[in-house]
């Protein structure tokens, strides 16, 4: 396997950039998500999630992450949020509900943070800073 490309975005905490490697990993998962843009497919998915998911070229981990609505896991497995929100739309939840589920906060806590101006970038720009989106680096 070849050496990795230059990825200057790998040091941003709590953030996954959807690049070629991630797109390759998430190909089937993201295809599944797009299938939910048809009402008939949404009905079939709702009626039997396992059967519906089995028809797509996804890994067992991807299927389990979808079943659990674990969106952080979906993203780690190559999903991209613009694809994944189709699951939320199928479930009838709002984008805020879906996104808050990834934030490590309660939905209410997240909503309150947004009303207060959102999450601060301070301490959340680089891995190892002390912001609320990352575990503080342990002292050496």
């Amino acid at each position: 396997m070849s050496p990795p490309l230059s990825k200057p975005y790998l040091d941003i905490p709590g953030t996954t950039v959807f690049d070629a490697d991630m797109a390759r990993r998430g190909y089937g998962l993201n295809q599944f998500c797009m299938s939910l843009m048809q009402a008939g497919n949404r009905s079939r998915f709702r009626a039997d999630e396992d059967a519906y998911l089995a028809a797509w070229p996804m890994t067992p981990e991807q299927r389990a992450a979808v079943r659990a609505r674990d969106y952080n896991a979906c993203i780690a497995l190559g999903g991209n949020i613009y694809f994944l929100v189709k699951i939320g739309a199928t479930d009838g939840i709002s984008a805020l509900q879906l996104v808050s589920s990834m934030s490590g906060m309660s939905e209410d806590g997240y909503r309150h943070m947004m009303l207060a101006g959102g999450r601060s970038p301070e301490g959340n720009r680089r891995l190892g800073e002390h912001g609320d989106a990352q575990a503080p680096r342990t002292a050496d």
Partner: protein, 303 residues
């Protein structure tokens, strides 16, 4: 109709008269479609666009070149175009998972789009031509914000040429490339031999992150500086690297590069006087996102 048109004069050519910038948050579309615009949460957002609605009603363009990104709607994992220009006569409203928004389909301008395609490809922009393009909230929410609610059986008051920019799968085009595209777009439109009033709208942003432990990131200072620099020093702003957008404005804040396409189409970047700031608005939050909005008029705007 005359059989032999007169030689084309400058006044018979299409002209870009203004640029509009706005977030295109899907929740804004949902709030409109579900009659929530007067709720306390949403009222400040729609109030912020009241000026724009009056402004655009008073000088409604013939055509809007609407720069937006497709959100895994028309373009899936199979094919990722960097720049896709909509050349169709009509663009259907996509079903993004909750049924299509109850708004009219979007009428295109195939002749101007074909002309723009030819001009841009001759200027070394490697467009993808989209002869079929279902449009999502990235394109319809700005139309709703500017023109208000429209009956689904009605018609938008403008024709629209969609210009979709990839900001989903990396690598995405640089700010420098987006600004250059805007400049070339101006030359293309101004070479079209019909007296059309054309606006360019840049959409997306402002700061937001829709994923991970950093979800909900908002960077008001960065957003405000972005707007300042967009107005006064767009070429310097265009040099900001992609990773800075992600780091400072959130993973979905990269949508802001699309504003540079619209900015590049303003006259000052072609040696004309600077544009006039007609409107500036900023609000947090709309759902997960900071809302930003701007109107720049070229000085020679026709009234």
């Amino acid at each position: 109709m005359r059989k032999h048109p007169e030689p084309q004069t400058e006044h018979a050519m299409a002209q870009i008269t203004a640029s509009v910038y706005t977030s295109h948050v899907p929740a804004i579309g949902a709030a409109l479609d579900h009659g929530k615009t007067q709720e306390p949460y949403w009222q400040p957002v729609f109030e912020g666009y009241q000026f724009a609605k009056e402004w655009v009603a008073a000088r409604c363009p013939d055509v809007v070149v609407l720069v937006y990104n497709d959100h895994a709607t028309a373009f899936g994992p199979e094919l990722v175009p960097t720049f896709a220009l909509g050349t169709a006569a009509e663009f259907p409203i996509a079903d993004e998972g909750f049924g299509p928004r109850p708004v009219p389909p979007v009428q295109g301008h195939p002749e101007l789009a074909a002309h723009i395609a030819q001009s841009l490809i001759e200027e070394d922009f490697d467009l993808t031509l989209a002869n079929r393009l279902p449009v999502d909230h990235g394109l319809t929410v700005p139309l709703s914000l500017m023109f208000g609610e429209q009956p689904v059986t009605g018609q938008w008051p403008v024709r629209v040429i969609p210009l979709a920019v990839n900001v989903v799968q990396y690598p995405v085009p640089s700010g420098r490339r987006c600004l250059a595209l805007g400049r070339a777009l101006r030359r293309a439109v101004h070479g079209f031999p019909a007296p059309l009033n054309v606006q360019v709208w840049g959409t997306g942003g402002m700061s937001h992150q829709l994923q991970g432990r950093r979800a909900g990131l908002i960077n008001r200072a960065w957003d405000q500086q972005f707007i300042d620099r967009l107005i006064f020093e767009p070429e310097a702003l265009a040099a900001v690297p992609t990773v800075d957008y992600v780091r400072e404005a959130g993973s979905e804040g990269i949508e802001l590069v699309m504003w540079l396409v619209a900015r590049g189409a303003m006259g000052d970047l072609a040696g004309q006087p600077p544009p006039r700031l007609a409107r500036r608005f900023y609000h947090v939050p709309a759902s997960n996102t900071a809302v930003g909005h701007l109107i720049l008029e070229d000085p020679e705007i026709r009234t």
